[in-house]
Amino acid sequence: MYTAHAMTPAIVPPHPDAAASFAIAREGETLRMSLHGRWILAETRQLDGALRALRTAGCREVEIDCGGLERLDTAGAWLLLRTKRALEATPATVMVTNVPESLRPLVETIERGCTAPPVGPFRRGGFVRFLDQIGGAVVEMGHWGLDLLEFFGRVANETVGTVLHPRRLRGAALIHQIEETGLNALPILGLLSFLIGVVFAFQGADQLRRFGAEVFTVNLLAVSILREIGGLMAAIIVAGRSGSAFTAQIGTMMVNEEIDALETLGMSSVEVLVLPRVVGLIVALPLLTFYANVMGLTGGAVISYFDLGITFPAFLRQLHGALHQGTFWVGLIKAPVFAFIIALVGCFEGLRVERNAGSVGRMTTQSVVASLFLVIIADAMFSILFDLLDI
């Protein structure tokens, strides 16, 4: 009888005292492998390498003796099966013998369950995957733009239908949306606009004081708040509050198949859900913008009084001089466009929700990001337009 190391010196079987081990012996043309101890998940790490390195060294027959096994779980059974298959491929005849009665069902189950060739690498990696992701993202964005355009067309189409038959506009839903998106946004929008006015007044006063031109802080406030900041603040708050809510509400209805139910009841989801939201926001956002302007200027006026000593009547006089006719309207005219973008994107993303809960959250995030992105692009385009028109 040969000892294992005499025959296959490259292999060092785990120490016999270990919780799980195997020993190898050669009898003529037969390689006898006897397993000992507890072949369980916790022990597989130390068995794994030694078993992988196992070679038959020219033996035609291998006998795997399982008589010494105390315990076996799926991980251990897999190692047994893997070793058996690897040796069979050498090629040799492999017999598994003396499997304890209690462990036999497990070995059979694993043998039956694992007919597939085990394991290629589970994931792709590296540069190709990186390029793949970039390409995928670009293509996806292109599709997104086209889908949004299509949805825009659908909404425009239904809007025409509703204008022709005004009774199809859902009055109660419209009023509810105006209350929800407009009235309920007043406290937060008022506070934030007031604070922005305060911040601008401080910064303006600080810079202009160096030139002895503190009084022009009022001009700075008037132009920046009325032309840009008031409208943007309102749009940002509404996108965060209402655009996301549109997506979440409609998305949840998608998950519950409520939209499908609507359509099968002969109602148009655009008419029932989208139009009241779009029209409601188009009404509400200009009003909110006006309110944000007033609150921003109030914040500026308060700081002007305390920091620069400009009284309220003086503030108003200076304000009057700073504005020319267009300033106020330039800011306000953008609001309906912003409102349309926010409501359209909010509803669009809501209708893109798939039938799983995770999708609602993803689409809601995307709705806010996309609507703010588009709002700021629109704002930039307005700036270019007004510049060309010399307003």
Partner: protein
Amino acid sequence: MTEDIVIRVEGLVTRLGGHVLHDHIDLAVRRGEVLGVVGGSGTGKSVLLRTIIGLNRPQAGRIEVLGHDMTRLRGDALRGVQTRWGVLFQDGALFSGQTVAENIQVPLREHTDLPQRLMDEIASVKLGLVGLPFEAAQKFPAELSGGMRKRAGLARALALDPEILFLDEPTAGLDPISAHQFDVLIRDLQKSLNLTVFMVTHDLDTLRATTDRIAVLVDQTLHLGTIAELSHDTHPWIHEYFSGARGRAALEPPIA
């Protein structure tokens, strides 16, 4: 002690939203048995399961799993017990950001230090064990059907070769053929891995095909017995459950 009890519940009281679900329930699950838990909607079947695995705090009572008092267990001792059970939640509860293979490897990665190659192999063994095709390994949970998600969830529950398997409505939402395959699968796994199975279910076919004993939750209490014993229970709900039209059709052997 003659019997090996793996789960012991004594005097369990749970209240949910001011509503008493369990009123001093006692239950002992023996090693190697399949216990089915049934009851009407809202009787707290799933709550019982969640309480045993520590997701719900009971108002009173003692819960012992594998000899450890679950209400007192903390830290490493608790994790030690947690690695000895597997839980299959209703819709699989797979982590949606990871592929099926990665899902199965989550417990392995957390609780062992196996090389990646061996973990990949073990993941594919578990896939084979629950009867999923090898290609499913690369897929994300959202790309799988409901039945496949349950199988994948079962594969993850089995990742660490647990002693106890908790199943929450394993066959709900499956078509009868898939449900039957799932029953056979659970029975097979239970036999070959010598699992103790604690299963919440509504499915009468599953009860007959897989369970050794049944616990019926009714009127805040628990009636325990084999199907044969419970068919003679006089409680009206239990009587209706086992002897109503559906119960008879599912539980009685067809007339030859």
